[in-house]
Amino acid sequence: METLKLEVITPSGAIYDGLALSVTLPGDEGEFGVLPHHATLTTLLKTGVIDIEKEDKTVESVVVNWGVVQVDEAKVVVLVDGAVAIRGENESDIAQALDEAKTLIHDISDSNIAIASVSAKLESAAQKLF
């Protein structure tokens, strides 16, 4: 399987830096997926969830509040303001990450629709992990 190089970078460091099969991003004008060899583009991200399909086909979700993504044929660089990765060793870790993610989106987004849709996605992502 072909992979793309993905970097998710926040002001306090990289939260994902590695290979991925595909990545789904919450673009300003709608959600879009990126596979290897995607055409070059630079666009804004809005509050939402980034779904990263990793090499072992598991999906990791990262909640972001604002960002810019730069895609080229081999590489995807996502620059975000604040981000929380939904992952952890055990249930309580995941639950904690989930709480952090919720505060993040509540702090930033003022539209209830956005919060609701992101929360729904979050829950379903979390369901898979539990």
Binding site: T40, V68, Q70, D72
Partner: protein, 295 residues
């Protein structure tokens, strides 16, 4: 005898100073480690943001993409008024750290004055503010307690005035001057123009490879948002980098001070021993000559 006591007092006072400077060095070393970690984590983000911005700016400049009229991408030949934002420490005792920044600011001001550009100074950090106040140079803004504890929110609020004034056309440029961290022994002075975006270091030829597409219609919003973040982040990064540099400078200065104190104690000890011997000799001579005269 009075001389002996005097020297002893001096030795004591110098070794006390030495204790203080050594403690300060240790404190700075610990703080430096934390600041350094923060700076290195943020460096990646800063570099990437600058890359993205530079690529876009280059594209607009080299290929003359029409329709994008953001002021941030246009070189202004004769700026009327610019903002200089400088970052110094809140505390002293860190060698030439603050002075270097201040000198760089003055140099920049002189250069701009030659071009007949007016300057608005905005200062962060007590030391720099005090210097310009003392020299009766007017500061438009003075923020304390930010450079010692960088905070994204506060730094963003601080820089926003400049961004807004830039878009409103009140100013034609924004410079950030700060002393950054290079390694534990050296600091590097940065004089950076954040607005309009600087593409001096890049070549149009290099960019041919890039496939980046920019369309004018829907990108104005994205660009503005990105530029705002870029400037805010540069400001924040300047603060973080400056803290790391401040601690490394202080660590060095305090190390030098400790060594100097050590030297001084050594010479004072020699002096003390000499004086002691001298007084013993005098006493002996007095006794001997007393005995001699009794014979």
């Amino acid at each position: 005898m009075a001389n002996l006591k005097e020297i002893q007092r001096q030795i004591k006072s110098v070794s006390n100073t030495q204790k203080t400077t050594r403690a300060m060095k240790l404190v700075s070393t610990a703080k430096l480690r934390r600041a350094q970690e923060l700076a290195s984590r943020s460096r990646l983000f800063a570099e990437k943001t600058n890359q993205v911005i530079a690529e876009i700016a280059l594209r607009i400049k080299c290929q003359k993409v029409g329709g994008i009229e953001s002021r941030a991408f246009v070189e202004i030949d004769t700026p009327q008024m610019v903002d200089i934002i400088f970052v110094t420490a809140d505390k002293g005792l860190c060698g030439g750290f603050n002075m270097q920044t201040i000198k760089a600011v003055r140099k920049l001001m002189d250069e701009l004055k030659e071009k007949k550009t007016k300057v608005r100074l905005r200062g962060v950090g007590k030391k720099g503010i005090e210097f310009f106040k003392y020299n009766e140079i007017e500061l438009m803004d003075a923020v304390r307690d930010l450079s010692s504890a960088p905070d994204m929110q506060r730094s963003a609020e601080f820089i926003r005035t400049s961004i807004e004034d830039f878009y409103d056309g009140k100013i034609d440029g924004v410079y950030i001057v700060y002393n950054g961290y290079l390694n534990a022994l050296t600091q590097k002075l940065h004089v950076e123009r954040v607005l309009p975006i600087n593409v001096d270091g890049y070549d149009c030829d290099e960019d041919k490879e890039s496939m980046l597409e920019i369309e004018a219609e829907d990108n104005e919003k994205m660009l503005n948002s990105l530029i705002e973040k870029y400037v805010e982040y540069n400001m924040y990064y300047a603060l973080i980098d400056s803290v790391a540099a401040e601690h490394s400078a202080r660590m060095q200065a305090m190390d030098a001070a400790t060594n100097n104190a050590k030297e001084m104690v050594k010479t004072l000890n020699v002096k003390f021993n000499k004086a002691r011997q001298e007084s013993i000799t005098t006493e002996l001579i007095e006794i001997i000559s007393g005995v001699e005269s009794m014979k």
